[in-house]
């Protein structure tokens, strides 16, 4: 059940990434919703799930991206998912600030691996990597905090609405 939920969440994030995220900041992909989903899965389910979800999400993302190398995104997201899952098991990261830090750090690590591999292999160049990375960190942190809050508040809201209907 959890695996299905993870897959559904990843699929939803990919769908939103390909349809909505590109309109968020001037047509650029400053927000990686798939990475946010992977971080959330890793924080809530652990390193293995985070790594597997990151692998799957990254590979799908790579496959859908034209001209890229399949595996680089998957590798970056697998490492991020694993490490976030490990940290999530070792520390309490349910509060807003730790999650914010975690999102920023995960985005930075993902960007470093992703862009670093492309540059190291001589496949692509990034004219202003630091600017792009900072923008993505901020975007992911903002979107992630909102998404996490929505996701965690959704069951309670549904339960309260059900209880209100029963009271009427």
């Amino acid at each position: 059940m959890k695996a299905v939920a993870v897959l559904v969440g990843i699929a939803l994030a990919l769908a939103l990434q390909t349809t909505v995220a590109r309109f968020v900041v001037g047509g650029t992909t400053a927000v990686d919703l798939v990475l946010v989903a992977v971080v959330y899965v890793a924080l809530t389910t652990g390193p293995v799930s985070g790594m597997l979800s990151g692998t799957a999400a990254g590979l799908i993302q790579d496959a859908l991206s034209s001209g890229g190398v399949i595996g680089i995104g998957g590798l970056a997201k697998a490492i991020v998912g694993f490490l976030v899952g490990v940290i999530g098991q070792q520390f309490i990261v349910t509060a807003a600030l730790p999650r914010l830090v975690m999102l920023v750090a995960a985005t930075a690590l993902h960007g470093a691996i992703f862009m670093g591999l492309y540059v190291a292999l001589g496949l692509r160049t990034f004219p202003s990597p630091w600017q792009a990375m900072i923008g993505q960190e901020l975007g992911n942190a903002l979107v992630g905090m909102i998404a996490f809050a929505i996701i965690e508040a959704t069951p309670g809201m549904i339960e309260r609405r059900r209880a209100g209907r029963r009271a009427r």
């Binding site: 390193p47 293995v48 399949i70 595996g71 697998a78 694993f82």
Partner: protein, 327 residues
Amino acid sequence: MAVLDIRQRTGWLFFAVIVGHIILISAQVNTRRGVPMLEAIVFGGFAEVQRAATSVVTGVQDNWNNYFALQQIRHDNEQLTREVTEMRVALQQERALASQTRLLQQLLDLRTSLPLSTTAGNVTQSAVIGGGPSPAFRTITIDKGSHEGIRQDMAVIAPAGVVGRVIMPSARAAKVQLLIDSNAAAGAMVERTRAQGVAVGTGTDRLQMDYVPGSADVKAGDQVVTSGIDGIYPKGLVIGQIESVQGGTGDSRKIVIRPAVDFSSLEAVLVVLTPPSAVPPDTEVSRPGVPSGVQPTAEAPRTEPSTQPTPDAPAAPERDESGNVER
């Protein structure tokens, strides 16, 4: 259950995922030389495996070839060693034969060049009866005797020069007194200046030249030859070379001659059957070791050995009944 087991091995799973990604990436990325990275990595890794496998195989093969397969080699080695030993022996025999042939050739050359009748006295191991019985008497015994026409006082020569004279012939052997014997002497002259004297044995490996006129020009390095005045040795045979002239000038000079013949390694000699009196007076024997252009220019007087030396031609030393020198 198996899935749970895998999930519990987080580290291995993470490692497998990372490796899988690296393989996937490598399959799509080319190296700078245009070769797919996966192929390059696989080839490089497999090359190391091949290298290791080859090292193992080569090591086993070397061990087999160098240790286990050496039984035949050992047999071959023994056979070859045996063959080498046999060939060395044969080589020694061939060398000895060649040496003997050279020596005989030299003797033959000397014999044909001499205007004298000679016979070869072979002083080989089988023919030599022995050397001198006492160190005080420097003699040898040759395997030719009176049956071959050898008589007393016949000159014995070698390719290098004068050896001595026959002092005691028997039927099949003869005793030869070497020129270095302390009782031996020969009429001699310095080839360069024709100064005459007597070469006298000292009992050592050196000769001494006595009765040389005090005004004669004699110096170290001069060649000394027989003068022929003693009635034994034909004229012109090499005696040796003056090694030193001691005592300044005059009659007190001591002239030391180094013999031309190595008396310690005599193997074959020639006995001069023709007495010097039968040789024409103007004839001087040609000899090995003397340049053809170096021939005497003046004829020394032919006299019988006498006890009275003359200024130009000293007399031969006086001899006793056995022919030894009286000094």
